[in-house]
Point group: C2
Chain length 347, copies 2
DNA sequence: TTCTTTTATGGGAGCACTCTAAAACTTATC
DNA sequence: GATAAGTTTTAGAGTGCTCCCATAAAAGAA
């Protein structure tokens, strides 16, 4: 059972190799009947063209890379699933690349580009320390998903799609303030200017300010740069918070995983969520609604974001359209972890 | 900034193209000094060979595909991370392919093989309805990870690595029996003979039998074929169980996600875990230990399994060594969700 | 009928590599 | 100094495909 090539198909059909190529690639200059005949033969013989040979010759490689910091982040793995579906529909193929925390994602993309002849790049998460200048080194169009970068110039060299992190974070913290909380801690990511953690922190500051609450910097806990948003890390940081002796009535963790770790830490100190401390997360991953107590969170429309990201990428690749910046609206889901039993018990 | 090719490097070094190729591929017939010189030039110019061109010519393509039913299954996404690391170390590249529930994974692999010139295939999960005969259609060596298939003939056409599902499941149910439970329900996957769900069900039967407990088929709940092990599904099936009116003192769900869904369902009926019903899971994903109550489960050594799987694959690819069947030992982690307060309150 | 235009097809160069076979250069042996 | 044997290098064929260009056939215009 030898590998079957385009030549074999051509011979079988009694036509030239180029005609078979034409039929497969929806080239206009071909007789519909010939095309039909060729396609039938292809199907009968389960012929699938060799991707390497195609990519070698083609200018447009039909390879899209997805670079992820943490494939096992539930938010990302869910999005990867959607992105692969979308990419598959358009007959492109997806290359997933896990970027280690110590790696520079743009460097990694640069390598992949040489190696795999990419025609498009999607970044899930990540920091882009050098920002625009760094991203501009990539030849293929780039879409940033769920990353910082609210600023967006005309003629940008990349697109971006995400929720408005400042606004969504504001929404959550403002909600906590209205619930009567005054001592609200936050568990966030690195202080890096280009990080989602920074934006969500800004939303936190803004909400406190508008509610006339002074910021207590001792209630602001940072993860280290490049660390995953893990439950373990949430647990540690919450424990530090609890052991600091500061008064805390609510905690906002910038991911659901961190929030769950925090819940567990509170529990392990013999305290109750939400009775003693309310906890809120961010993302809206499955576990948030199944956790006990179910977790108040900002639900990011992951499917929509992932779909839009691939759509934008295709627009840029195929129609050479301009890069764009799209914001999605998150949904504040109020659940058990912030139910205010103390004050509202009379309701 | 034009793309740099092997020709450019050859010219820069003042040597032939084939010599550069030799240097890069650790070919023995080359002067060490020449090689060093060439490697220096390559590094200085950030040259990275084009993968498509390589794969086109090479017999062994250095492409390994990972086919997954459900990339967003936490167990799998974690393993994917480890597998990519291992594959990367050996300078091979990984192609992740999400297999939809309605797709036949072997068909999908067959396509990928033609398309991407695979030199190895790893399956994560999946069913393999046609089993051996079907798998034998693949030319590249295959390793099944976390799949059924305890039987293993000499000269098998594939390797397999997993825990011994029957034994691990037995361990768990036997433990529940010893805790004094008599009415133990199970939430498992399809009845399909080649599924992990079936094996774990066999372990359940065995444990009940050895503990002289009659099986009540009304306590055995099946998911549909191809469905993900989701929390939502666990919730539904547990709700059905609770509404059946059968007496239930413990539930064993064959994945942690299902178990968490079950916990939530019990909670929503106004009952307590473990006081009213004990719950046990399987897998040992992160959330299991952070959930409230923390979840009793069988911890699969995911990292070790993933590493071993890639190792075996490399052995078969490179040394043409025989296929093997490797079992790992799981760890029964007893946690809050099965703590037996009732009987042992005097302890 | 002859010339131009349109439509359909085939030939073959080229993509960036690998690898075989042969060439060029060493060194050893008599 | 000639031959053999080994080492290092190179030219060039081959990989499966795409796409430009040439050609052939059909259609339309003169």
């Amino acid at each position: 059972m030898e590998t079957i090539t385009i030549k074999d198909i051509a011979k079988l059909c009694g036509v030239g190799v180029s005609t078979v190529s034409r039929a497969m690639n929806d080239h206009p200059d071909i007789n519909p009947e010939t095309k039909q005949m060729i396609m039938d033969v292809i199907r009968e013989n389960n012929y699938i063209p060799n991707n390497s040979a195609r990519n070698l010759k083609r200018t447009d490689s039909k390879n899209i890379a997805v670079l992820v910091k943490g494939v096992d982040n539930p938010l990302f793995s869910r999005m990867i699933r959607v992105i692969e579906e979308e990419i598959g529909k358009k007959k492109y193929s997806m290359v997933v690349h896990q970027v280690e925390y110590y790696e520079d994602e743009v460097e990694a993309a640069l390598e992949l580009e040489q190696e795999k002849r990419l025609c498009g790049i999607i970044f899930l998460g990540g920091f882009y320390s050098e920002s625009s200048e760094s991203l501009a080194r990539l030849k293929a169009p780039v879409v940033l998903v769920t990353s910082a970068k609210p600023q967006f110039e005309q003629n940008s060299t990349y697109s971006a799609v995400s929720v408005d992190d400042i606004r969504e974070s504001y929404k959550m913290v403002d909600y906590l303030c209205r619930q009567g909380h005054k001592d609200i801690a936050i568990i966030t990511a690195t202080m890096h200017d280009e990080s989602v953690g920074k934006l969500r922190l800004l939303g936190y500051y803004k909400a406190l300010q508008e509610n006339n609450i002074n910021v207590n910097e001792k209630l602001v806990k940072y993860m280290d740069e490049g660390e995953d948003y893990s439950m373990g890390r949430g647990y540690q940081l919450m424990t530090e918070l609890l052991e600091s002796g500061e008064k805390i009535s609510a905690v906002f963790a910038i991911s659901d995983s961190l929030a769950i770790g925090a819940c567990r830490a509170i529990h392990d100190k013999g305290l109750q969520v939400p009775e003693d401390i309310a906890v809120a997360g961010f993302d809206g991953i499955d576990i948030a609604s199944y956790y006990s107590p179910s977790l108040t969170t900002i639900i990011q429309p992951m499917e929509a974001i992932a779909k839009e990201a691939t759509q934008i990428l295709f627009n840029v690749i195929r129609d050479k359209s301009m890069h764009t910046r799209k914001f999605f609206e998150g949904e504040l889901a109020v659940r058990e972890s912030t139910e205010n039993n103390k004050e509202n018990s009379a309701d």
